[in-house]
Symmetry: D2
């Protein structure tokens, strides 16, 4: 049965080889260590929801292969409704946890995208990647795996291609092709949710030309594969996670650097190997779906920011309704990224392997909003909350409970007599965490930068065709072509 | 056969009783008079497109009642795909004509919305409105009618309800109920496309309480019904339509005031009569669909503005690519309103009568964008075009061709030697027309004001629920309700 | 005595040779012809104000040369207070007339800028331009002249320099240098207020290199100089000016194309002739001051838009206070452009001739706002006013007063019983005129385009210096220079 | 001699009684403790600059009382130039330190504002506050004091006035008036720069009515006055200050809660005591100046963000010029708040005591920008910097230098071969610190919230007057007053 419980999930993580570090320390148990247990808790709530009658419909489905009940994040997305389910799940997850749960969604998208791409490769190259992939997916559904996805490479010098880099490990690449598998090396950077995941789905970080074909590699590996060293990154205010007290919520996000050093990956886990011309297809399908869906993430976090604003207003002694106009602005931002994503899906169609692919032009347009509107929503959350929210500007929970002067701090932090000082402090810390603390996810560059998205918008905007409509309406009879480039 | 030609259409208009005035003059033939022939031409292009292999798929469909081929704007919208077809057609129409073709879309939406609402009324009140409606729709499909829709009343004092107005005719209302029909009086204001339409679909302008039940009336009337006087409104630069020369395009828009004075409407054309509680449902369904679809209108006009910008750049001697960043901004605006509308549709569902209803929250969110983004797109179009575009700041076509000094004007207006002065002048006039001339449609208040849309956004944003998500993430254990209102 | 009256002013205009055309017609008397009398009326109000005790302080001053009372717009601006007076006068003028009064301000700025530049030329070239200029200014102060300024040339192909144009007349230039004066030819385009002016101050349209030295020319000529043909441009809805009725206000703006054909200018009116390297200085000083001051213009028009919004609210039956939040947004826009302009002045300093020059960086930054914020203010004005404002969407004043159906129109247009239908209609027409009618001035490209302004902002932003501050704060010890350009 | 050195300053701080706490710990020496030494270092750089020939002009001046050379932040601001000097100094300080140096500027403004207010009180009440104030200022100039200012009270329930609060200590108040002085109690919250200051200038947090007169109190107290307990607040990522390594800069900001418990203040340090009607004047003058000047702070930080963006571009292997358009946007934001502040000053005038008071309307308009534009500038800084900047998403400096895997981290973080990995990491940490770390100052609510500023804009916008201009331009002859309120 594919629908696992929180307990199954935690057990599966505990059984893995420790290979994650932070602050110079090896994390023995990701479910218990302060640096990783929050992201594990976030993902665990996704398991809880799949068993909760209120949410089960959005968090589970049946396998299109076996007809068995599985977690939704292990499913194939063949229809518009299927892929809309991706957005819905992501918005819920943000509402439950306040931040990003990367292990839920990049791997999910990756397996669907690769279904389409393997169809293309197999057809053109006579390979059998899709069959391999199917086997892996069946296993993932059966085991209820949480799978992080990893695209972004460390990259090195931005003005050079991968094969031109001084350090070949700037990007993950095929180092050796053996009969039974391949050896990979290189660095993936800023990968979300790895600490909460069972496996990692590796995709190329860009389209590649033939001279960079070693960088065109797609594999899935266990998170604790031999040769992989994982170092968790800092996050704003991340050392609060090491403290006691209420200065940080119990859920959270992680982002890691993955150092692959001569990792052997058996063939059954390899879904692309040096087929350079298809790397671009992976990126095209992946970003179309991902940038459509990511609108739901920032919408869900925006929902929580509206809620945090309401809590601040009330604990300040005011009605949330006082800030209706600002909350409407926040809601407009949230619904825009969510609904544009849905629109991009509805404008999409089935890909070559039968899995749904969102429309590129509008999905990338959505990314432009995802990279800007949440900043406004955060600003509004800080605007509503007042000075103690803006920079979390009040004493720590340690000072709050200090035996000598804690009573002064508590007295000063209480505003409305109806709510305890701690309630107000917790609401303010939540707002800080959401707007400039460890809960801030990477909506600007996550899933690719807005400048990249604009290049796609530009490429898909048929200026000549539009000029022709204009010309006809204006009654212009001569042709008005673009001038030839001067040499 | 329902799929009529341009010739059929023009003939149908010519045969009508003249009852439209502008500048104190009765317009004998709307297809020929300078004040109305442009909007007729715009609509005629919609007939042309239905026979053009390139566009026939988007401009025609088959009747769900008879299976016969009909114009798409006479069709029922039962599925997501059907209603997406509405958006597509509207974007095309704007690309072909540069401005609003009201007779294409309000009536189309109205017949679908009323299908859902008559299902509700019939069920609760035991009436047979839907049967009547079906009969009328079959006729409209058969005859290929262009049907304008009319919601907005003259309203009178904005602080009073209809029945409180000094003048009962401030809003269209039932004056008398007879056995064979009803008598209506009152004023509908700012109604698009009437001059190009065969019939007018009257809907209530608002939800009503029982004391205003006479205002809850839905009928379809011939445009030339006895007792109806139509006065066309001015538009910016509308007297150019009376001139010769190239200072205004050959297509255009009209908006009219409709004065109903004791008009008798037979029962078979009455689809709501005093059922006050359902007026709100009409508004709810109508605005949800309309505000989802209207994103396509402004997108289509935005496409033409990108094109106009390209023409200006090139006739100025520059490549359109010089302004890529601005064009991407314009495209982002266009795709946003278009795609959010599609998203609102995809988030919608079948209504009580089986016709699709878009999601209210996101449709109204889209209206907020429709009321703001096109202003930015216009600004960018003026930015690209330069000074002659900004206010159409160059001599008239009469001066352009003046025997004494016309050669000076023409010489001064030519920029790139590759294009004639007239081509540049036409491109500049088009830009003026689109951004502050007679081609500017009412995206701010058309289909209802953004403030009204924000009220809907506010109503549909579950602040308490969001506060609860926030509360749980913050680890707050006490309840944090909204304060009770002070008395 | 320099302080003339409205009567003096009108008389001075009536006495001039007719050389202005519009719609193929020679305008015999600019003070009476429908196409020009509105801008004359606008300027006449500036004379009225100089005699009105309430405004005399802002509209008059004493000549720094003679100590005599003069109109402020003929004065020299030596101090911060002097130049702030320029902004104040312009804001008043917009409040009085609702639109641009170009004859008031470009010439005024020009004489001050040229004072500084002639100091430079005289010093370097041994010329005596400043002495000539002084003589001319004394005369202008004595006669109380209204002087339009003209910079923008027709330009021709935007990718070529003046001397490379197919038509040398694309830009105004020195055609012949004689002993007693010079002969100029060429076209100045989109020049404001010419019809209301006594003289025209010609400045170069750009900085020039030596091969374009013939285009480096500064002269002042009578508006009716021999060889000058003036053609007025169209403006949105400009034919309303030819109508009777209330569809357009009694004040207004004009913009003209000036065709100079072999005009002889005597030496005493020549202040630069072929000194190419100083043309850039003219532009630098002119734009710094002009872009600082223009913030006051759009602020003044914005003030009137707030007022128009208030009128619409009230005649709709609502309090203006209903729209406070929107009016605050409008006020923020208005005060921003006004106050940034003042700030740019305060950051400026005396130029080489002793006249004040505003700070370039901040003046050009202000131009970026001037090119964007008024568009938002207009949108808000339309938002407040409702549908009849948005496109002026209601019957013409002719229809309003039609004997047959005018009573219906009047009834429909009345909203609040407290105000007449005509009052509401006039308020709506004013809003239309301000936001997309003949009252819209060219804030985008007027005084130069925002893209040009951004080039200045870029040039004056010391990125390397800022990188060095950042480097020190970050504790980086190695140098981090810009990479060398690849060849 | 008033111009002290860094050494004098540090010595003066070391000699004070320890009364500042953070994380439950008493800070014995603010110049050495990790939680406070960064803000002390920031202020110390202000002393350095006063002796640096390059900056001495902006950082020092002569006392208007004694003619002796003093630090500029101890000076009186009588002229426009004087107060512009305030803005200049603040922009420099941000460029040197990257963050807020509260002890430099609130106290400075306070002494000037109180000079004006004491003139009013003394005149009306026959008191001699100004004389006392002068004595204190002379001492401050002589000793070169750093003086923090404190306005914001803890406030308690936002829907109640001070005297209605359950806890009278929610706001600082006069508890007892004695012959030789007064006793004060209560809490000031979120006070900047206290740890780096010698004294604290207490102002009322709001205007007050007579029943709240005990809250109308102005005093200056030594930072270590008996009865004062200070608790420093958390800041985002503030525990990094306790770490070794390069994850945080060497300068910084602090914000504190001040708990006054029965503090006796001798009369010579009391400048307002229960004169309730003048508390509003303090707020009016203070906010006018403060909100004019604060534009320079965010501009200075924005300069550093441009610089940080340039460092990121270059260490990524790109030219800073690649991001010119974004840097121009940032510069426009910076110059806007800076220059609008200068404009508000230029529109101001001398107050009743002779010290300059900026114009309220435009100063408060500037606050609206100060509360929004820096958020955009931060977004752009993150946009330029890429993923590692957005959330500081890379391993800690501890991991960077880890003996086991540090070499992998360093290799991965190096992009351009020209710059060390540490240089790139430091630039990224700087960007994080500026945009969502401990360097983020409170531009939203600091110096009062933007909603409060909008109330002032609203109050100072003469809507009726504007409606009258509009009415005259529209040719409306009837009066159009605001409707009377319904009772």
């Amino acid at each position: 049965m594919g629908l696992k419980t929180r307990a199954d999930y935690l057990k599966s993580l505990k059984g893995m080889r420790p290979n994650i570090y932070k602050f110079g320390e090896l994390i023995e148990d990701v479910t218990a260590h302060a640096a990783t247990r929050r992201t594990v808790e976030s993902h665990a709530r996704g398991f809880d929801a799949s068993h909760d009658p209120k949410y089960a419909q959005d968090f589970s489905t049946v396998s299109s292969f076996t007809g068995e009940k599985i977690h939704r994040w292990n499913s194939m997305m063949e229809t518009l409704e299927d892929i809309m389910g991706n957005s819905k799940l992501k918005r819920w997850m943000y509402r439950f946890t306040g931040s990003c749960n990367g292990g839920l969604c990049v791997g999910w998208n990756a397996q669907n995208v690769m279904w389409n791409v393997t169809a293309l490769i197999d057809k053109e190259c006579g390979t059998h990647y899709q069959e391999r992939l199917k086997k892996w997916i069946l296993g993932a559904q059966e085991k209820g795996l949480v799978v992080a996805g990893a695209l972004t490479d460390a990259k090195g010098d931005r003005s050079l291609r991968p094969s031109q880099q001084a350090d070949p490990d700037s990007n993950v690449h095929v180092k050796e092709v053996r009969k039974d598998g391949i050896v990979i090396s290189g660095t993936k950077a800023m990968i979300c949710g790895v600490a909460a995941s069972n496996e990692i789905f590796i995709l190329p970080g860009s389209g590649y030309r033939d001279e960079d074909k070693d960088y065109a590699v797609v594999v899935v590996v266990p998170r604790d594969i031999e040769g992989l060293t994982i170092v968790e990154t800092r996050r704003p205010s991340d050392t609060r996670e090491m403290e006691d007290g209420f200065d940080i919520p119990e859920m959270g996000i992680t982002q890691a650097f993955l150092f692959f050093q001569d990792c052997f990956v058996p063939n059954e886990r390899v879904f692309m190997c040096q087929e350079a011309k298809f790397a671009g297809k992976v990126i095209e399908y992946f970003t179309a779906n991902y940038r459509a869906c990511i609108g739901a993430c920032v919408a869900g976090q925006g929902d929580v920011m509206i809620g945090a604003g309401a809590l601040m207003a009330r604990t300040n002694g005011l009605a949330a309704a006082t800030f209706s106009a600002k909350m409407v602005e926040m809601a407009v931002n949230n619904e825009t990224t969510y609904c544009m994503g849905i629109g991009a899906m509805a404008l999409g169609k089935k890909g070559p392997g039968g899995m749904w692919v969102a429309d590129s032009l509008t999905a990338h347009t959505n990314k432009v909003h995802v990279a800007t509107l949440p900043y406004e929503t955060k600003r509004l959350c800080q605007d509503i909350g007042g000075g103690v929210v803006e920079t979390g500007c009040f004493p720590s929970s340690k000072d709050f409970n200090d035996p000598k002067y804690g009573h002064l701090v508590r007295k000063a932090l209480q505003a409305s007599a109806k709510f305890s000082a701690e309630t107000r402090a917790r609401a303010a810390r939540l707002s800080e965490w959401l707007t400039l603390g460890a809960g801030v996810p990477g909506c600007m560059h996550g899933g690719g930068s807005p400048d990249g998205a604009k290049l796609v918008v530009r490429a898909f905007t048929p200026v000549n065709e539009f000029a022709d409509y204009a010309r006809k309406i204006a009654g212009i009879t001569e042709e008005v072509p673009e001038p030839e480039k001067k040499k």
